[in-house]
Structures are given as C-alpha cells and as structure tokens.
Amino acid sequence: MSASTASHPVPAARARRGGGNLGDTIFEWACRGAGLFVLALLGAIIVELFIAGLPAFQAFGVGFLTSTEWDPVQEVFGAGVSVYGTVVTAVLAIVLAVPLAFGSAFYLTELAPVWLRRPVGTAIELLAAVPSIIYGMWGFFVIVPFFATNIQPVLIDTLGELPLIGALFQGPPFGTGIFMAAFILAIMILPFIAATMRDVFEQVPPVYKESAYGLGATTWEVMKGVVIPYTRVSVVGGIMLGLGRALGETMAVTFVIGNANRISTSLFGPGNTIASLIALEFGESETGSLKLASLLALGFILFFLSFVVLALSRYLLRSRLKA
C-alpha cells in the first residue's frame, strides 16, 4: 500500500483521491443502507405479524389474550393457554437454570485450576451450539422415559402428598409435560446465562477481591460480598437474556411438553407454548383461515414478549457492552 502511494507522482495521487471520495460515498452509503435494512427488517417483522394476525384480533378482541378456548371446529381461538404455558415454562426454566449457571460460572472464574478453565468453559458453551431439535429428540427418547420411571413416581409420592404445593406435583407419571419442557429449556439456556455471568465476574477489578482476601475472607465470602454486589445488574441482565431465549424455543418444547390445550394445576400435566402450538398447528391451517390468522397473532404476542424481555436484558447489560 505504502509502496504504491509513494511511487506515484503527486497529481496522480490527487486524481485518485477524487475517485476515492466517490468510492467513500458509495461505500459509506452501502454500509449505512445495510444498517437501515436491518432496522427495517425488525420493523417489517413486527408490522407483518400484526397485520397477518389482525383478523384474529378483530374477531376476538382483547379477549383473545385471555381466552383459553382453542377449538378449530367451532373456529374459536384464544391465546390464554399457550401464553400461560410459555410464561410458566420459561420462568420455571430460569429457576432451574440459574443455580446451575451461577455454580459453573463461579467455579470457572474462582475455583477451577487455570488449565481446566478453557476446556470446561468451552464444553459448557457447546451446550448452546447443540441444535434445538437435538434437545427435543434427546429429551423425548432419553430423559422422558428415565424421568417417568425413576424420578417422577418418587416426586408424586413425596412432594405430591404435601399440603398446598402438593397439587403441583400430582398426576400420572407420563414424563412429558410442563415440568419436562422447563427442564429441557433450563439445560438449553444454561450456557447463555453461565457465559454472561462468567464474563461479568471476570470484569471485577482484582484489587477489590484481593482486598477482601487480605481481610481473611473465604472464597464464598468474596463472592457474596464483593463479586455479586459489583456485578448484580449484569447478572440480572444475563438471566433476562436466558428468559428471552426460553420464551421462543420451539422444537425441543414441541417434543416434550405433551401438547394439550389446557391449563393443568400440576406441573406434570401436559400443556403447550406459543411456539409449540404454532409449529404443530401450522401445517393443518388453510391459507386465509381464521386459524392461521390466530397463529400469526400468537406469533405477534410472542414477539412482543421476547422483545420486552430482550430489550430489558440489553439495558441491564449495557455496562458490560461498553467495557
């Protein structure tokens, strides 16, 4: 580069600079145009889903959100059951995943010997690379039978007998159901939460931790008293990221949730989520039908839910993004 510039006489370089200005304009607008395209893309997704779902919103009004009906024969559709299933599985998945993610992030940043950190960290992150459909098959053919024969009967006999919360753990041990969906989701979002936690734990200035160690604090006390307070906001942001991912997972949930359009009291009961309902019912919907419009309206609701959660996550993680 330097050689070619140096070997040209001055006027030639000026001429090229003129051409460069044109090139600059074109290139900058290409880049900006691509950026605007991405903006327009998100806008188009929102608008398209809303317009396509409009017939359902018009036919059922606000009641569409809460109605638990889903009757293709009578052409009555409501989002209640699937919204409930989506939120419950995602929240339960967070409850299950956060302790595991925290444990492994803590282990990888503070406890593990240095030579072990990279391979173990990579292995945990590879969990995020496994496709959703593989989780679905593995869950359905391996975890569900194991859970139904070995764990679920025990839980039904012990937790199911308790007053108040017992109702959550009753019912026949089929394996599939809301709880199983949440369990598989928990494994799928674990690497996302763990990776965020690990990143932010590593950003704590060493001098803070050293001071606490210098006062005689144990590793756990340093974690509790220094690292967690310092990273609290970002940790919540990482959890929100996991929640956003869990809301829209489709294939794995479709395999293990049992696919029934009802709200069960028991966590072992079958259910559905917005994504699983769309995946299952789409093939049986005719073009232009009210059912198809209802599915697209569900898509719009799902987009709204995940948009809010992901935007919140990004807001909480902004300090990490700047660093």
Partner: protein, 297 residues
C-alpha cells in the same frame, strides 16, 4: 499470655476465642459447602453434554450406513436414506450464509467504522442484538407472510431467505467486535498515507479482522444448519430428490423432526443418524471457529 496479648491489641469489643474459633469453622464449612455445590453444578452441566453426545453416538452409529448418504428419503420399510435432506440442508445453509454474510459485514462495518456513538448506530446495534436472540420461529412466520403467501407455494428460496435473516445478526456481532479490536493508530497510519476511507476499511481493517470475521461466518453456518422452526413454514420439506429452489426443499432438521415423531422404527433410526450428522457438523464448526480465533490471537 499470648491470649491476653491478642485480646488487648485487637480493637473493638472483647472476643471469646472459642466463639471466634466456632465462627471460623462455620465460615470454612459454608465455604466448603458452596465450593462443592459449584463443582457439582459444573459437573451436572457437563453430564448433560456427555449424555447428549453418548446417546447420539450410540443410536446414530447404530443407524448409520452408506445408504444414508446414497438414497433419498422413502416410505417406511423401504430402505430410504437422507441424501435429499443432506443436500437440501447444505444448499439452504450455504446460500443463506452467502446472502446474509455481505449484509451482516456491511452492517458490522457501519457500526464499527462510521456510527460509533451515533444515534442511528445505537439503534441498529440494538435491533441487531434483538434479532440475534429473537425466536427463530417468528422469522419463519415472517418469511411465510412475505414470500410464501405472495408466491403461492413453499420454496427453497423462502428457506434461504429465512436462514439469511438469521445469519445477519451473527455476522454483525462478530464483525463489529473484531473491527473494534483494531488499534486506531493503524487506521491513522493508512489515512496519513492518503488512502480513502473505503480502501482503509477494505484493504486494512477487513484484512486484519479476517480471522474473526471468518469465525463469525462459521458460527453462522453452524447456527442455521441446525435450525428447524423457520424452515417448517418456508421450505417445508420434500420427500423426493429436488435441487430446484423454486419448489419445496428437504432439509436435515425438518426431516429429523418428522421422522422422529413417526411411529416407524426405521424412520426413527434414520432420524438418529441425521441427528448425529448434524450435531457432528455443528459442534465441529464451532470448535473449528474457536480454534481459528485462538490461533490468530
């Protein structure tokens, strides 16, 4: 004697040494318990990965044969393979990446080189991050409404479009990150030589960030190769041999989905074989991408 000395020199209220010792033991115990739980949590995570890999290897190899690669999908009991699904997946994943990568690179370049701190830049970055984590099934629905409905039929092109939308944010993220790692002194040096900005970006910045950008592209291929949900409503699947992008096109994940949910033993076996192939491909690409990035750092 030493006891009275320590009591006398430590400021604050007097402490009973036996109480202090008990407290110390309790703190140590709490520490030990938490450490153990953290190791257990990590092991649980690793156990899941191991269980997935062992299951896939065991069931996948059992069903694996040359037939999987030489025959197209067929009715249950008639010795089909997965050839059309494998080829369909390759075509759609590679074309989706080929379309999504240039757009993603331009957006990443815009964010890193032109829009640092600008309002439009922040908005684009925000939207790209949302797209990165948004449910992929919605991308499928979107492409269904804008391509499949107007064209009147499911098609490979629609699948390619859906996958390219998923590729864009992945490439944006890595391109921007990698370009931001380039020291400004390098840019200043190029500008000082009289080069226009676009030449600086294309011949210096992109070149220095090449390993990182390639990593992003590999990760994007890995991501879309395993996507099922967006293809259900776009390329739909096809049980016969077809490389015509204007018609419905088979793909490995969608075929796995329909075969695994079927009651036929041989279809389920084929689904395991396909699952093994796809996982090996996806994890292989991920590991390759990581090692590529590490060797360049």
């Amino acid at each position: 004697m030493s006891l009275s000395l320590s009591v006398g020199t430590v400021p604050g209220p007097r402490k009973d040494p036996s109480v202090a010792a008990a407290l110390g033991r309790r703190r140590k115990r709490a520490d030990l318990v938490v450490r153990t739980l953290c190791i257990a949590a990590t092991l649980v995570g690793l156990a899941f990965l191991a269980s997935i890999l062992v299951t896939l290897t065991y069931r996948g190899f059992e069903a694996m044969s040359l037939r999987v690669f030489t025959h197209v999908t067929a009715a249950p009991g008639s010795d089909g393979g997965l050839l059309n699904a494998i080829v369909g997946s390759l075509i759609q994943a590679l074309m989706g990446t080929a379309i999504g990568t240039p757009i993603g690179m331009l957006v990443g370049t815009y964010l890193a080189e032109y829009a640092r701190g600008s309002r439009l830049g922040n908005a684009v970055r925000f939207v790209s991050d949302i797209l990165l984590s948004a449910p992929s099934i919605l991308v499928g629905l979107f492409v269904y409404t804008i391509i499949v409905l107007p064209m009147g039929n499911f098609s490979g092109w629609a699948g390619v479009a859906a996958l390219s939308i998923i590729v864009i944010p992945v490439v944006v993220r890595t391109t921007e990150d990698m370009l931001q790692l380039i020291p400004n002194t390098l840019r200043e040096a190029v500008m000082a030589l009289g080069a226009p900005k676009w030449r600086m970006i294309v011949f210096v910045c992109w070149k220095s960030a090449r390993a990182g950008i390639v990593t992003g592209v590999l990760l994007a291929v890995a991501r879309v190769a395993g996507e099922t949900a967006p293809l259900l409503f776009t390329s739909l699947g096809n049980n016969t041999w077809s490389t015509d992008l204007g018609r419905p096109m088979a793909s490995l994940p969608v075929t796995i989905y329909s075969f695994a949910a079927s009651p036929f033993e041989d279809w389920i076996a084929l689904a395991w074989a396909g699952a093994l192939l796809i996982t090996l491909g996806v994890l292989g690409l991920n590991i390759l991408a990581r090692s590529l990035l590490r060797s360049r750092k």
